[in-house]
């Protein structure tokens, strides 16, 4: 049968039917710079119109592509220019933009819209501070809007004033959505070295270095990788790495084909394929289970960081061979509530925040979807952000924090977010204070190796 053989056809069908292979997201990045006006109302109206015009067909095209290639496209999303820039003329009125974004997301039928964001990695203007202060209301009053703030970079250091502010922001977002277990925090992420072409939520935004309209695609397939490793019971670790690499190649090629076709049909530029292995709470779609298949009794055991480093690297090597436009976050995700293996490990106490932090040094993207006690002080959350940002800054990689201080809940309780956000036990945080460090403010200087010119 021409160049394609029977086994390859059956393998592809099995990947979708039995191993949960899918295109996790088609994300359209839209520049809204041309919508900036003096007033909040006019800017919001123009943003709404432009998003609806550009993303009008994204749901239809995603469905068609899923049907034609036989690989389902799970999420349809939009990312926009960081809203703090759009709102510079009207501090105090920023949430008008969030509402316009939410309405546009509803009109287009997309799952999420990212970009209620600010980039304050070196310093903050007064309008950016006002913008960050608006984030809790923006998230509490909308359904589909996601927000992110970049607080540091390897080149600029860490903006500790912003880190302090974000601890308070996360606490307030949780409080405003107390009735829904602080769900607003699941739509917010604090970054160091944020990327401009990330298709995944909650951290997607359309950077100012990007073009008019861009299609970025996030592939996935933890189940496919897991399945491939099941046949390698006695193989050495380099054989395991090789198998992961080959599997990642196939997954990425499928994503790349669909990304290019989506861009063509939507009249947009093809941006990147993001190689991240993104789990879902469904059984058979877990990154933790891959690590356990490699040889851990439970994720969180000693050896977890090593196994994850190998997995992450092998996925990148296979993916880079498969597509010349690799970008976004491109690393294995380890969200706790969204991965059944991680949920189980957190419940049994096999994984702790300290181990999660160590794991983020070798993968993307950080302390992700971790539920913590509702009475955790804002400064402790800031401390968590500072730790992650420091790992990112020193290692020239993206790191992030997405934690939910669940109001009224304490260690040992559990929380149910529903859908792809999953469920999670409340994990204990260090009881010791970092209040003094956080309240110092200022800017942590960039590391010596940032001086490369």
């Amino acid at each position: 049968m021409s160049l394609i053989n029977r086994n390859q056809i059956i393998e592809t069908i099995d990947m979708v039917e039995k191993e949960h292979f899918d295109v996790r997201t088609i994300t359209m990045g839209i520049s809204l710079l041309s919508c900036i006006r003096e007033s909040a109302e006019e800017t919001a109206r123009l943003c709404y119109d432009r998003i609806c015009k550009k993303a009008e067909n994204i749901v239809k095209v995603a469905r068609e592509l899923g049907e034609e290639y036989g690989i389902p496209v799970i999420n349809k999303r939009v990312s926009v220019t960081p809203a703090s820039i759009l709102a510079a003329n009207f501090p105090g009125r920023e949430t008008a933009l969030a509402k316009a974004f939410d309405k546009a997301a509803e009109t287009c039928g997309i799952d999420f819209l990212g970009g209620y964001s600010a980039l304050v990695n070196k310093s903050m203007t007064s309008f950016e501070r006002s913008f960050i202060e608006s984030i809790p209301e923006a998230l509490a009053e909308t359904k589909k809007v996601c927000s992110s703030v970049n607080v540091g970079s390897s080149k600029s250091g860490i903006n500790m004033d912003a880190v302090k502010l974000l601890g308070e922001t996360i606490k307030r977002a949780a409080e405003l959505t107390r009735d829904a277990d602080g769900i607003a925090c699941a739509k917010f992420v604090a970054f160091c070295n944020a990327v401009e072409d990330n298709p995944f939520m909650a951290g997607a935004f359309h950077g100012t270095g990007e073009g008019e309209t861009v299609i970025n695609v996030g592939v996935s397939g933890p189940g496919v990788v897991h399945h491939a490793l099941k046949n390698l019971k006695d193989a050495s670790i380099d054989e395991v790495a090789e198998t992961i690499k080959r599997t990642a190649f196939k997954i990425t090629r499928a994503g790349s084909l669909i990304a290019k076709e989506a861009a063509k049909r939507l009249g947009a530029e093809f941006g990147i394929v993001d190689l991240s292995l993104a789990p879902t709470p469904v059984i058979g779609d877990s990154v933790a289970h891959i690590l356990e298949e490699i040889g851990l009794e439970s994720v969180g055991a000693h050896g977890t960081t090593a196994a994850l480093a190998m997995l992450n690297d092998a996925v990148k090597k296979g993916g880079v061979m498969a597509s010349s436009s690799v970008g976004g976050l491109s690393g294995a995700f380890i969200p706790v509530s969204e991965d059944i293996g991680m949920i189980n490990a957190a419940r049994s106490g096999a994984i702790t925040l300290a181990k999660l932090e160590a794991m983020t040094a070798v993968c993307s993207v950080g302390i992700d979807m971790v539920a913590i006690p509702g009475d955790t002080p804002a400064s402790t959350i800031s401390g968590m952000i500072a730790d992650e940002a420091a790992i990112g800054m020193i290692n020239n990689k993206t790191t992030a924090v997405r934690v939910i201080p669940v109001p009224g809940k304490k260690e040992g309780d559990s929380v149910e977010f529903g859908g792809l956000l999953g469920s999670a036990p409340i994990m204990p945080v260090s009881p010791y204070s970092c209040e003094k460090l956080v309240s110092r403010g200022g800017r942590m200087p960039a590391p010596i190796h940032s001086n490369k010119n």
Binding site: I9, E68, Y69, G70
Partner: protein, 89 residues
């Protein structure tokens, strides 16, 4: 444009006739066909030309899904490019 039609399920008489008559009725030309039965499981793979097809690929996929449901087998229709992309460097 060419598509790969895959039929997988329990073996019974008339599967090929049923599938090929639906394809013919929609002017889809079968260029190549292969089938095997492994321990009672029927697998048929067809390479089809959709140049003159009355239906778009997505529509054909939906039609064949119904045909498969009636016949008690699972049928997929996929653009051949997906297999070329994933399995050939």
């Amino acid at each position: 444009m060419r598509a790969i039609v895959t039929v997988i399920g329990k073996d019974k008489s008339g599967i090929i006739a049923k599938v090929s008559s639906v394809l013919a009725a929609n002017d889809v030309n079968i260029e190549d066909i292969s089938q095997t039965i492994v321990s009672g499981n029927f697998t048929m793979i067809m390479l089809c030309d959709l140049e003159k097809s009355r239906l778009s690929l997505a529509e054909l996929n939906e039609t064949m899904r119904h045909t498969g449901a009636e016949a008690g087998v699972s049928i997929h229709v996929q653009h051949e490019d997906i297999f070329n992309a994933m399995h050939n460097v």
